[in-house]
């Protein structure tokens, strides 16, 4: 299934987060940065994957050493990056959903 995902506000917010190539993105982190509930983030991620805009791989860690199971990281494909960039340029910066300011935890 390669249908184009609907560029709703929530989808654009998720794409905006995924456009950052520096960090590794996983479900809860995307939900935290967009301010969307996880019940909305995961269906969007599924749609993006089915449109070949997104791919995922598992964190390469030893669960015994890290004391936690590996996470699943999401990153944009070349096609997804291109479309997300185009959507971002066309629509401008997307204000965070629910007026939650995106940010990262500081040590």
């Amino acid at each position: 299934m390669n249908s184009e995902p609907r560029m709703a506000r929530a989808t654009r917010a998720v794409l905006q987060v995924l456009l950052d190539p520096e960090s590794q993105h996983f479900g809860l982190q995307i939900a935290r940065e967009t301010g969307l509930p996880i019940s909305s983030v995961y269906p969007i991620l599924v749609h993006l994957q089915q449109a070949d805009w997104l791919e995922s791989d598992w964190e390469d860690i030893d669960p015994v050493i890290e004391q936690r199971p590996p996470r699943r990281f999401y990153r944009l494909t070349a096609k997804g990056f291109q479309r997300a960039r185009a959507a971002s340029d066309a629509q401008g910066a997307i204000p965070p959903v629910w007026n939650v300011q995106p940010g990262r935890a500081t040590p």
Binding site: M1, F26, G27, L28, P37, I38, S39, S40, V41, Y42, P43, V46, H47, Q50, E59, R68, P69, P70, R71, R72
Partner: protein, 217 residues
Amino acid sequence: MSLARVLLGVLTLFVLPIALQEFHACCPWLANKLVEWAAARLPEPDQMLYEAEWKAELASVPGNVVRLLRAIGFIVAAFRMRRPLRDPRQDEVRRRTDFQVSLRLTVEIHGSATIRVRGTAALAAVLVLVIAFASAQLWLASAPKPNQRSGGLAVCAGSLAVRDQPASTSAGARLTGFAHRGDRFLVKEVSGPWAFGETSGPLALRGWAATRYLCSM
């Protein structure tokens, strides 16, 4: 101090804290169970994948109760992900199954209201319901009226003329007359299914008798 107060005190001091502590301790286990249940709602090829992913996500969440809330979020997510994750071939199989056995009604609203009935069995059920409703309406419309059932004489309250229709008095009661027994008549006061009173007399005096009956009301 009443027994109820003592019990309330014991409940507040001992039982409630222990229950809360137990609930707090059970939260991670419960969250894991909820995630497993949520993943089981997904199509089979994706179940293991998302269960592992969500358990990993839960492991990074601090706080037992927050973990439980996140797990509830995964349940909602699972229900929303079912449709996009579903294989179109599975859809075809499900549609065929619906066609054979389903009695489910699917109502979809697109701008204007549209009711879509899936499956021949569901269509047949709807048709039977419609026919039964129409038949009931016809039966009610053609059911014999009280005066028709008696086949007798009815007395109109206004003019006291003898007619074949039941009459209403100003008090809201209905009068129905009968003339079964030779030259005698019978007038009944009827309200709904209940009869409240009656009078009878020679057929020739029916107008006078009905007047007397009405005046006595």
